[in-house]
Symmetry: C2
Subunit: 456 residues, 2 copies
């Protein structure tokens, strides 16, 4: 029997974990810097919480958990013999694994509404599960890193989130473009070209403009039943060029007949001006074709792309006005951002942007020459650990070559050798594995040397 | 519709998360200090990996995940109409949620054996799920924090783990007793009293001695079919008293006729002497009645109890010799320790041992007086964040009382007030929420004051 794991899931070994921890701890620190507090929700939610929130397709992609015990008891025998899977599901499963962090967050806000201080700024870094067909870069278990502010419709929140995104990627060393749009601008466009009911068709089509080009978008719009006149009216809006300010100003002129569109342009301008006043390292790009799950967002729409790697969106978010309505708490406005940890991981791998030293990697290994030497080594190791040095002792008095091979394979930068002569002097021979240099030092000197080498 | 979560699961709000993070990060740092590397495994494992590893009862407590799609397709209609839940499970579920971290770790070691450097020192901090009846202190989703060394039978590993346990609880400020035993001592006792086949019965009974007392243990042994002669022979062993060294020496004498028992005493002595040579803050206690999942452990057995709170074991572990045999990799010896995060959380709550400041809590809130003031505040806030201060601005120009109420409710220690006069001077009025003291300072001065107050 060769053991394996379910398809679409992954084991993370020590090297991958160090890299993932680096990403998560960077994001976590910046979330804290911006005043977000962490929450966690259970992996399992009631299916009544999850079903119907992600569309028909999403319902199918939920992992359902079989009820415990005699799950068939009390089930209509006719239903059983009918062998219709989808009819039986709700009878034998009450729980499912969370599909994203947004619906559990909405459920959390409503359930704990009386304990929460509004505006509520929360972040959440947890895995989610989807029964998607696994493929390159798409997993059945993956992490989401979300920050949201609910209970405030101030655009200051958007400005803060964009600054936060900028800080995260600056710390990670990834050059990014932050694309901005506003759902009200999209509504305004649909209104303006005389097709307000076709908003979804229009946005689904123009969202692809980067990939398939203007001509194909026009073809698709025809296929979706848009008249030539509307398509002709749409073209100049999509073709707006110039600096962000110029495009914003032209968009304002083009949309001035639409009240909603005008408000969208005003919001965009306020956000962009606010961000500019504070300064941004990333490039900011107004993109009227940006839609991202339109049915969900009601205002600002944000998407982040890496400039140096072709990988699609690595972060996204926006404003929604009715997150908690489905749980009986209407009218709560919020804005949020979600970092795609797996794609960020791929970008950092591609660009080789990981710091050389991991904050948790072992710094020194003591070689083991036998009982007495090991005892002396363990006393020195204790002293070094008390000074914060991360270390280990080879547990067996194995052959020197084997022991050194371990330090080498694990990239442990220093090896301590404590033989008879070192024991007598209360010292150790410290070997720098990168340079091969060896020196006889006291434990305190070894601590200083290791700390110094980390600082470099 | 009032939203809720499945019974036995929990939401963790900001305050609970700060406390949990404090526990996890303390344990994680000490794991790293001792040279353990982190791994993570998927929440879902194949049921073939999990079933049969936790006994018949354990199999029932596994959460099973319904196969995606048309899960009833191809199932024998007779099986369906039979309505026997347990026969159907294996046909409609291929995956389950992990029940502990040990079996997934064993699976990981076998699956990745060619990539691992032995001895392999790993730690893992992840949730596990059990369909247990929820009750006080027992949840259906809870975290385990495990560290194991596999591929070495050196007792140095035991000594290191005991030192590690001591360090974790010293950092948490919890006074503990570390109880030690050895499975070979238990085998020796069974041998000595002439009942080697009754090892399980004997250990299950004597494991309860602390709770029910000697007389009731004897009664139970009688009930389990042990002859009076054996019970009489057992009594002096359980009644051994004196210091750890004295008890060890008497145990050695009593067990000298048993080869296994003598080896067990020798191992215990080596571990205890090794730990004493290094120094231990915790009390170390030899406890021959300690058994802890006997069928699993083959050598050292470790259990930790809090001295100041009656709550049962808060950490446990031991040596096992055949962790991976069930996955086709026999003969791999290992020793591990598992911290019970939920019980440690309860102990810290009971003793009120949390540090006053959370390392991620918001330090300052800027009051919002309107557009111009907010813009000036955001510039100052940016400067402060660049210096590592965790802060926020109230996003709306709400009433002063409401804004101050937020800082108060969230225990934010400083509030910054930037009105017209502060704007003109490029300063802020910094209010210390604990003392009520206010002073007009520059952003740099505010940074210094906040950092100073954190250091106190």
């Amino acid at each position: 029997m060769k053991p394996s794991i379910p398809k679409g899931t992954r084991d993370f070994g020590p090297v991958e974990m160090a890299r993932r921890n680096y990403i998560f701890s960077t994001i976590r620190s910046v979330f804290a810097l911006y005043g977000f507090s962490q929450i966690e929700t259970p992996a399992m939610e009631n299916l009544s919480t999850l079903m119907g929130k992600y569309g028909e397709e999403g319902d199918k992609l939920l992992f359902k958990i079989l009820n415990s015990g005699d799950f068939l008891r009390g089930i209509d025998p006719e239903l059983l013999s009918g062998a219709e899977s989808q009819k039986l599901v709700s009878k034998i499963c009450e729980k499912g694994l969370r599909y994203d962090l947004t619906v559990p967050f909405a459920r959390f806000v409503v359930q704990h509404r009386n304990e929460l201080q509004m505006p509520f700024k929360r972040f959440q870094i947890q895995p989610v599960w989807r029964a998607d067909r696994p493929q390159k870069g798409r997993y059945r278990e993956f992490y989401q890193c979300d920050a949201d502010i609910v209970g405030s419709d101030s655009l200051i929140n958007e400005i803060e989130l964009i600054e936060l995104v900028d800080e995260v990627f600056a710390r990670l060393g990834i050059n990014i473009i932050i694309k901005l749009n506003n759902r009200k601008v999209l509504s305004g466009i649909a209104e303006l070209i005389g097709e307000p009911d076709k908003l979804t068709d229009i946005t689904v089509a123009i969202d692809k403009i980067d990939k398939i080009g203007m001509e194909n978008v026009k073809e698709e719009l025809r296929g979706r039943g848009l008249p030539e006149q509307a398509i002709a009216a749409l073209e100049p809006i999509l073709a707006i060029s110039g600096t962000t300010d110029e495009r914003l100003s032209r968009l304002g002129t083009l949309l001035q007949a639409s009240e909603t569109g005008t408000l969208g342009v005003k919001e965009l301008k306020e956000v962009i001006d606010g961000v500019k006043a504070l300064g941004l390292r990333a490039e900011l790009d107004l993109d009227v074709s940006l839609a991202r799950g339109l049915n969900y967002y009601t205002g600002t729409i944000i998407e982040v792309k890496a400039r140096d790697v072709a990988i699609g969106s690595i972060t996204g978010g926006g404003r929604y006005d009715n997150l908690t309505g489905v749980f009986g708490m209407p009218g709560l406005s919020g804005v949020g951002i979600s970092f795609g940890a797996d794609r960020i991981y791929d970008v950092l791998n591609t660009l080789d942007l990981y710091p050389a030293e991991s904050a948790s990697a072992t710094q020194i290994m003591f070689v083991n020459f036998g009982e007495a030497e090991a005892a002396a080594s363990m006393r020195m190791l204790k002293t070094m650990r008390q000074a914060g040095i991360r270390g280990e002792i080879y547990p067996d008095a194995a052959k020197m070559k084997k022991q050194m091979g371990r330090a080498d394979a694990l990239n442990i930068p220093f090896v301590a050798i404590v033989g008879e002569s070192e024991m007598q002097q209360g010292c150790l021979t410290l070997k720098n594995m990168a340079t091969g240099q060896q020196q006889l030092v006291s434990p305190d000197e070894a601590i200083a040397i290791i700390n110094e080498s980390t600082r470099e």
